[in-house]
Symmetry: C2
Subunit: 160 residues, 2 copies
DNA sequence: GTAAGTGCAAATGATTTGCAGATGT
DNA sequence: ACATCTGCAAATCATTTGCACTTAC
């Protein structure tokens, strides 16, 4: 067994390698902070805020600033490696681009449901036909009320 | 001609009356700030940020604070009179509940397209069937790329 | 060596909150 | 009169920016 590094699983280690190659290939530099950030994203598999990622990175690399995480996420997004989504009211949620997906988010309890892109197919087609608009299914979650909240009293507060 | 008040158009004046009656009926108090706020919303017909509304209100009623506008918008929303939507990255957009509608927003240039609710019909039906989730078409805009940006270079920066 | 990346602190923008005084019913 | 609203100032939360120093290449 080789020395334990940032990513423990061999699969993730391989994918991390690919991402770093892609990063370098586009002119980006491979730094400690970036390696750790991508490692953390691979480990957690998405749905992380910048703050959560900064914390995860800090475990092995204390002193990595939140601002650095934001700058790196921005850069990785520009390179097409990372994607961010706006779910409820809080902070943005970051994902690896290869694992991007849509969301339904309950306005009342905040529960998040991951959706296949097919859910948006007919909306995307209609938007393209009527306005020439290409829908991005994962950038903004679709709001609404989840089954639990519909069943409970909460739903009645909003629409009788 | 009667004295000029907050709302000049007779139609809006009538609708304002209805809204104030509804407000009082639910136990809310009719204050200067609220009358002016609803008047401003009627005049502008939606797509206003809290700050824009505060400015509009300030014309006739200087000294109305932004925090008061936020508190009143929150209360009016609780009463079902007003609704807010998250369009791009900026401030929330407030609308009268009676005029709520969905939006497509371009990630690149920020242009906003108002959509009929039918656009969401098939998505809403699928979400209801698979997850028992009731979609709210107007609370979050659907992200994507508008026709102009698709035609220009900008689109190529994002997805080749 | 040089441009790109980072730490740090401070600014930003949107929204919220605490509290004492003013106002609607 | 009494609870509700409001003014005001300050706090909060997510994110961004300026600048001097460090590091990857």
């Amino acid at each position: 067994m080789s020395q334990v590094r940032d990513a423990a699983e061999p699969e993730a280690e391989a994918e991390l390698g690919e991402l770093l190659v892609a990063l370098r290939g586009k002119g980006g530099r491979v730094t400690t902070a970036r390696r750790a950030l991508l490692g953390a994203m691979l480990e957690r598999g998405g749905h992380c805020s910048a703050e959560e990622l900064a914390e995860a990175v800090s475990v092995a690399h204390p002193g990595v600033r939140l601002s650095t995480v934001y700058r790196n996420l921005e850069e990785l997004e520009r390179l097409g490696v990372v994607v961010h989504a706006h779910l409820g009211h809080g902070a943005a949620s970051y994902h690896l681009a290869s694992r991007a997906h849509g969301h339904l988010v309950c306005e009342h309890c905040g529960v998040e449901i991951e959706t296949p892109d097919e859910l948006f197919a007919s909306l995307a087609q209609a938007a393209a036909q009527r306005w020439g608009f290409r829908v991005n299914p994962w950038h903004s979650a679709v709001s609404g009320t989840c089954a639990d909240c519909l069943a409970s009293d909460r739903a009645r507060e909003i629409r009788p």
